[in-house]
């Protein structure tokens, strides 16, 4: 019984071609390892960008600001300002409030420093508006009109242009990153294909023998593809491990900075699954690349 077990365990390691011997195996593992390392990091960036995007979106959509520019010769009275806030709050789903000096101070603090004497600066009056997401009645146009009716100099800033620009930029970045990972995958496939060709040539005698015994091209390709799969998985697992170490390192370095500058990278279980699956994906890419290379090359043998 133990003997049967042993045989079962050994069977998958048997190659009818001496492919395990040198001839570029390490090259494949290393190349795929480096590519996987880069791909995992790129994927983490894509995930981080995606979550940052949704944070921005949630934070900014439905928020607007009405700005009443500072004008020394024609100050808008506080009563007028309060009137406007009251009018705005009457609109369904809208809540408005005047930003206090402290609020503004918190906003401009990073640029001007917290000690700035804000009261002496020519700051505009800002009214912060939050619109419930599901409310379609209070359109920006309506809000803008309401504001102009009470205070003609008021200007509505919906942030939407700015948000749209930011989203566009994030989207472009994501596309570039995805393109990079595709290129990495493609390069990995090319490496495997090139190595498979070399090995096919190297083992021509054995391959010829298999043909003479009656092996199909597919049988021979299977020998190559099985090995490519194993080499790629081994390399990619190493790459994944190194990438996880890198992330842990970055995470530790980041702890000193706090969460203000960079949004924390929190991966969802699905995103973790993708990362963990990279070795498998690399293996499948290598397998397919090697199979088709070998089949294609064999088809040309008379």
């Amino acid at each position: 019984m133990t003997k049967a077990k042993n045989n079962k365990k050994r069977a998958p390691k048997r190659y009818d071609l001496p492919l395990h011997r040198g001839s570029g195996g390490h090259l494949v593992s290393w190349t795929i390892g480096v590519m996987s390392y880069l791909t995992v990091l790129v994927m983490v960036l894509v995930f981080a960008l995606t979550s940052a995007q949704s944070v921005w979106q949630a934070g900014l959509s439905g928020r607007m600001t009405i700005e009443i520019p500072y004008n020394k010769s024609n100050m808008v009275s506080a009563d007028k300002q309060n009137d406007l806030v009251r009018e705005l709050n009457k609109l369904s789903g809208v809540s408005a409030r005047i930003l206090s000096l402290e609020d503004i101070g918190a906003l401009v603090g990073p640029w001007l420093g917290t000690g700035a004497a804000l009261a002496e600066l020519p700051l505009p009056v800002m009214i912060d508006i939050t619109r419930a997401d599901n409310n379609r009645a209070a359109t920006p146009a309506l809000i803008g009109e309401t504001a102009k009716k009470t205070i003609p100099t008021a200007v509505l800033d919906t942030h939407e242009e700015w948000l749209a620009d930011l989203m566009q930029l994030a989207k472009a970045c994501r596309m570039v990153l995805i393109a990079i990972s595709l290129i990495l995958g493609f390069t990995a496939a090319l490496t495997v294909a090139a190595t498979s060709r070399t090995r096919l040539a190297l083992h021509k005698e054995e391959v010829d023998l298999l043909h003479l015994i009656g092996a199909t091209d597919s049988y021979i390709a299977t020998q190559f593809q099985r090995q490519a799969f194993r080499l790629a998985i081994e390399g990619a697992a190493g790459g994944l491990f190194a990438a996880l170490l890198t992330m842990a390192g970055i995470g530790m370095a980041k702890q000193g900075l706090g969460d203000t500058l960079l949004p924390g990278i929190h991966l969802s279980p699905l995103q973790w699954l993708w990362l963990v699956l990279t070795p498998l994906i690399a293996g499948v890419i290598a397998m397919v690349a090697s199979r088709f290379t070998v089949l294609y090359a064999l088809r040309k043998v008379p």
Binding site: N7, Y15, D16, I213, G214, T216, D217, R299, P302
Partner: protein
């Protein structure tokens, strides 16, 4: 079973090595393939095991014209032919068992069923103690028997052997040919290329004799084997 009609062969742009070969091998026949070194015995076997296509003429095998064969349709024919190569062509990284099992695995035979077949055959050729050895650790004669076991494991209809007694002393050579005789009696068609005049006389099978690029059939002096 096999029919050569005006078969000719040249390697690439070289001279015509074989020309105007005409002969028929009946099912169940046993022929020696003789002729001086360089006469084209190995080349002729290559034609027979479909490792080469003739550059002229027509070969019929198992009722099929080889001319129309494609990469796919040639496989079923190859699987009915067992070959003992002059240089054995064993796979050095595989055990004796795996070398012999190869033709069965290629056709997708179950490991369980294949195991007993291979072990039985290895015992029969006297290699029961070397199942796990690798070819480089074997003697010439042992390698030869591995090659023979591999050639006959899938019970081919046609068995081709190139100088199978080349590395063997006469006694073992005789035993080997008795083994072939046994297979022949079980219905296998056999062609054995050999230099060994003694064996040819001893066994008295008919000869395909190659000389000056063409073949002549010499009738056997068959005595009861």
């Amino acid at each position: 079973m096999i029919q050569f009609e005006k078969v000719a062969l040249r390697y690439e742009t070289g001279p015509e090595i074989l020309h105007d070969l005409n002969f028929t091998l009946e099912p169940g026949s046993f022929h020696f393939l003789t002729g001086p070194s360089g006469a084209g015995k190995s080349t002729m076997l290559k034609l027979l095991y479909l490792g080469l296509r003739p550059t002229g003429g027509k070969i019929m095998m198992f009722g099929q014209d080889l001319h129309g064969l494609t990469r796919e349709t040639i496989l079923p024919l190859r699987r009915q032919i067992g070959v003992v190569f002059q240089d054995f062509r064993l796979l050095d990284h595989l055990s004796v068992f795996d070398n012999v099992a190869l033709p069965l695995r290629i056709v997708g035979r179950e490991e369980k069923e294949l195991k007993s077949n291979v072990n039985e055959l290895l015992k029969w050729v006297g290699l029961g103690d070397h199942v796990k050895s690798r070819p480089p650790t074997l003697s010439g004669g042992q390698k030869q028997r591995v090659a023979i076991a591999r050639a006959i494991i899938s019970r081919p209809r046609l068995l081709l052997a190139d100088e199978p007694t080349g590395n063997l002393d006469d006694a073992i050579g005789m035993r080997l040919l008795h083994l072939f005789d046994e297979l022949n009696r079980m219905g296998t068609t056999i062609v054995v290329a050999t230099h060994n005049e003694g064996l040819v006389q001893e066994f008295g099978h008919p000869q395909l004799h190659l000389g000056q690029g063409s073949v002549s059939v010499i009738a056997g002096s068959k005595k009861a084997a």
